[in-house]
């Protein structure tokens, strides 16, 4: 079997599949009534994921080392990572909106790697001495997976910002747990009335809290009056769960995926630091790449803290997460434009 020909077929195939998948996801968001479109999108993503996995495996067999030594390989690895994290996010949120954002980014990465990169940069090259270490696999794969997770998380934050544009949002889900409580006292279901799922979703929509925090809403005399009215009504009605809506879900899944990327980033940076210490005697040397990894870490640490800060909830943490998308890209590619430091192996800049 000709592994090189197989690879060039697979990289073009994964680009084509991702392009189609992107169109399907966009179609399913534009025309939600068409059946099976989102299933088709998920299938496309799965095919792309398998194509890239096969591509990287072929490269691994051909070159004899874990394929993470040059730009082409790392781009496909990150594309694979995004498709993998996409499944996690889609499964957690059960929203087809995830693919609307992840598919174009993955498609762009695959297009850049398969079509824009010159052929000599796509071929496998022997490893330079500094990269001949088991730490390569550990450090680089974890870093790239963390970039993939952080990118998906940031994309969901962007999705959240788009869905909630022009609204004032009370966030759910943060490590102090401010989100576990009802907005107002509680909104009981009209148990007597037949409630269809759609009506139910509309009834449990009190996400938009124009008066700010739940606390101030209660202090507001009008709000107190409604709450009291509601609770007197409730005597005859059943207490029922207040459901999360689309914006809540997007926000929380974004938070969870970033929450997954953050430990990966931490482990990746530490693996790199330990490798650097074992290989050339310094665990931290303020090399531009590692400094930018630290900057990424600091920005997402700020995001995680912003979520638990009173008065900072709502769209502000999401803005921070969305800007994290840019920071991750600078860290991943932009730093290499500087062309300095230890991480300039196998890159064309």
């Amino acid at each position: 079997m000709d592994l090189v020909a197989l690879q060039s077929w697979l990289d073009n195939a994964s680009f084509a599949v991702l392009f189609t998948t992107m169109l399907i996801y966009w179609g399913s968001a534009a025309f939600p009534t068409i059946p099976y479109l989102s299933t088709l999108g998920t299938t496309g993503m799965a095919i792309a994921n398998l194509c890239i996995a096969a591509l990287l495996s072929a490269r691994w067999i051909e070159a004899g080392y874990f394929p993470l030594s040059n730009l082409y390989e790392s781009l496909f690895f990150i594309a694979w990572g995004i498709t993998a994290i996409h499944f996690l996010a889609e499964n957690m949120s059960r929203s087809r909106l995830v693919g609307v954002f992840t598919a174009p980014v993955t498609m762009a990465i695959a297009a850049f790697a398969a079509l824009s990169l010159p052929t000599e940069m796509q071929s496998a090259e022997p490893l330079v001495p500094a990269l001949k270490s088991n730490w390569l696999m550990m450090h680089v794969s974890v870093m790239l997976l963390s970039y993939a997770a952080l990118m998906v998380g940031s994309l969901l934050a962007i999705a959240f910002l788009i869905v909630t544009r022009g609204q004032n949002i009370e966030l759910k889900g943060s490590s102090v747990g401010t989100g576990g409580f009802r907005n107002g006292r509680y909104r009981p279901l009209q148990a007597e009335e037949p409630s269809t799922p759609i009506e139910l979703a509309a009834a449990t929509e009190p996400l938009i809290d124009h008066s700010g925090t739940g606390k101030t809403a209660v202090l507001d005399p009008v709000a107190v009056a409604t709450v009291e009215k509601v609770s007197t009504q409730a005597k005859a009605e059943l207490l029922s769960p207040q459901r999360l809506n689309l914006a809540d879900t997007l926000d929380n899944i974004s938070y969870r995926i970033i929450g997954l990327g953050f430990p990966l980033l931490t482990i990746g940076i530490i693996a790199g630091a330990v490798w650097a210490n074992e290989a050339w005697g310094s665990y931290w040397s303020w090399d531009p790449k590692e400094t930018w990894a630290l900057i990424t870490w600091l920005v997402f640490a700020a995001y995680l803290h912003a979520r638990i800060t009173r008065g900072w909830q709502g769209r502000r943490p999401a803005l921070l997460a969305a800007s994290g998308f840019v920071v991750v890209w600078i860290c991943y590619l932009g730093v290499n434009l500087l062309g300095k430091g230890l991480h300039s192996y196998g890159w064309f800049f």
């Binding site: 409580f181 006292r185 769960p241 207040q242 430990p263 330990v274 640490a301 800060t309």
Partner: protein, 477 residues
């Protein structure tokens, strides 16, 4: 007792800073907005260090950042040197920022994280139905009981506490401990870094094959590093060589090193390469660089001669080493010998700079009427040497940090339930059953989990009329 005793005055004097610390400084340090501002400020200053060239000469900044026109109107070489932007990560203000960050971490741990963990541990049963009303995810069921709920929660790995008609269940308390571990780990890493900076040293040595050296060329040492610098042992470079691939690319650098005591006795021997250093008494020697040191040769029937080779200025176009070999006894004529690597190929140039011949290691050639036989090209190994007593501390911090961030992913979920028996429900047929819960991170997953539990509770005993409500709810998910 009067308030005039000296000890009272002293304690009063002590109370002022104590009160200032507790009422003003501590809340400020523990303020999350300060923490966020610090994180972003450190990020911002770190960026400046990656954009501006670090550690260059004054002349470099003068050439690249002239006073007129100033970059962005203010970024002149004078401004850069005055603010220390040529060595951002070692300026007093960057280090002060890190210390402030450490203080903020400590303050946050004690004023926020420990109380939050304490609150999570000191949970309470809910014994009033109104307590369920404030929870977003709570329901009032006509049927269901604690006995039915318990196995469902057990299946989901909850730890269950029961007291009569009240139930509390929780899981993921690790998610409350994780952030504390993260903060502690950050402090340990900072402490280790400070210890290393104070007591460690860095050195570089370029040593030709066959020579013995002591560590002298120290280019960076902390104020208390004296005792770390070894004086009672030296290192002999038995051999340095490079393995090349069949295409002529460097495969790996190797140095065969022996550690010798003061009598010249071998204490340790190891062949090091990139990614495989030698460690001796807290000092580590890394393979970092290489050069060509000398060439050994014969002219006609002369004894073996050795001349040093020095690196030529190529203006960044690869590395070349050269030497000049006289071919006449009065030094009036000679050839230049050029090498670019240790693969054994040497280029011979005449006095006019014309390439006249090439010769391989172990071979000979005729130049200027003499036979030049090259015996050996001697390489020198570039070693990076360091001692960092802060490493054990830093590695401990690394381990804890990884553990802490993974723990912090876990969501702390709590479920309360109450069987009401002493009240009059509207239909007065069955006592009401309240279930509610909340979690701090994974809202979406928890909602799904709790709705599934409510669903199964109502399916278990489908006699009551209001079951439909709950089944309908879960069908939305």
């Amino acid at each position: 007792m009067t308030s005039d005793t000296p000890s009272d005055k002293l304690s009063l004097l002590w109370k002022v800073p104590q009160r200032y610390f507790q009422q003003d400084l501590l809340p400020l340090l523990a303020d999350l907005r300060l923490a966020i501002a610090l994180l972003l400020t450190i990020a911002l200053f770190s960026i400046s260090g990656t954009v501006l060239e670090q550690g260059q000469s004054t002349a470099f900044y003068q050439a690249n950042y002239p006073e007129d026109p100033a970059l962005f109107g203010f970024l002149t070489w004078k401004a850069i040197l005055m603010l220390g932007l040529d060595h951002v990560y070692r300026t007093w203000w960057f280090l002060a920022l890190l210390i402030l960050f450490g203080s903020s971490l400590t303050a946050c741990t004690f004023t926020r994280q420990f109380p939050a963990l304490g609150a999570a541990k000191n949970w309470k049963f809910y014994d009033q139905s109104r307590q369920f009303q404030k929870l977003a995810l709570s329901a009032e069921l006509d049927n269901g009981s604690l006995d039915q709920l318990t196995p469902l929660l057990q299946q989901k790995n909850y730890r269950i506490f029961r007291d009569g008609n009240k139930l509390y269940a929780r899981k993921g308390i690790t998610g409350r401990i994780g952030p504390i571990v993260v903060h502690a780990a950050m402090l340990i890493i900072l402490a280790g870094a400070i210890l290393g900076a104070m007591t460690g040293f860095f050195a570089q040595e370029m040593v030709p094959s066959g020579q013995t050296f002591q560590i002298h060329n120290i280019f960076d040492a902390g104020p208390w590093a004296k005792s770390q610098i070894p004086t009672d042992w030296s290192v002999r470079v038995n051999r340095f060589w490079i393995d090349y691939t069949s295409e002529g690319r460097i495969d790996q650098f190797y140095s065969d090193l022996s550690v010798l005591d003061t009598q010249g006795q071998e204490l340790q021997r190891k062949t090091i390469h990139v990614n495989e250093p030698l460690r001796h008494k807290g000092v580590t020697l890394y393979q970092a660089d290489w050069a060509i040191a000398a060439v050994r040769f014969r002219i006609n029937n002369s004894p073996m001669l050795q001349l040093p080779m020095s690196q030529l200025a190529t203006e960044g176009n690869g590395r070349l080493w050269g030497t000049w070999i006289p071919t006449k006894p009065d030094l009036s004529a000679g050839v230049s010998l050029i090498a670019k690597d240790l693969q054994g190929m040497l280029l011979i140039y005449d006095m006019e700079g014309k390439l006249v011949s090439t010769v391989r290691e172990g071979m000979s050639t005729e130049v200027n009427g003499v036979t030049l036989a090259i015996a050996e090209v001697i390489g020198s190994t570039g070693l990076q040497i360091k001692a960092d007593p802060g490493i054990p501390l830093v590695y401990t911090g690394f381990g804890l940090l990884m553990l802490g961030v993974v723990m912090s992913y876990v969501s702390h979920s709590q479920v309360w339930a109450l069987e009401e028996s002493d009240r009059n429900p509207p239909d007065s047929s069955t006592p009401r059953f309240y279930v509610g819960g909340r979690t701090n991170r994974a809202q979406v997953t928890f909602e799904r989990e709790l709705l599934e539990i409510l669903d199964r509770l109502s399916q278990a005993e489908s006699v009551a009329p209001s079951v439909a409500t709950v089944t309908e709810l879960s069908s939305v998910s």
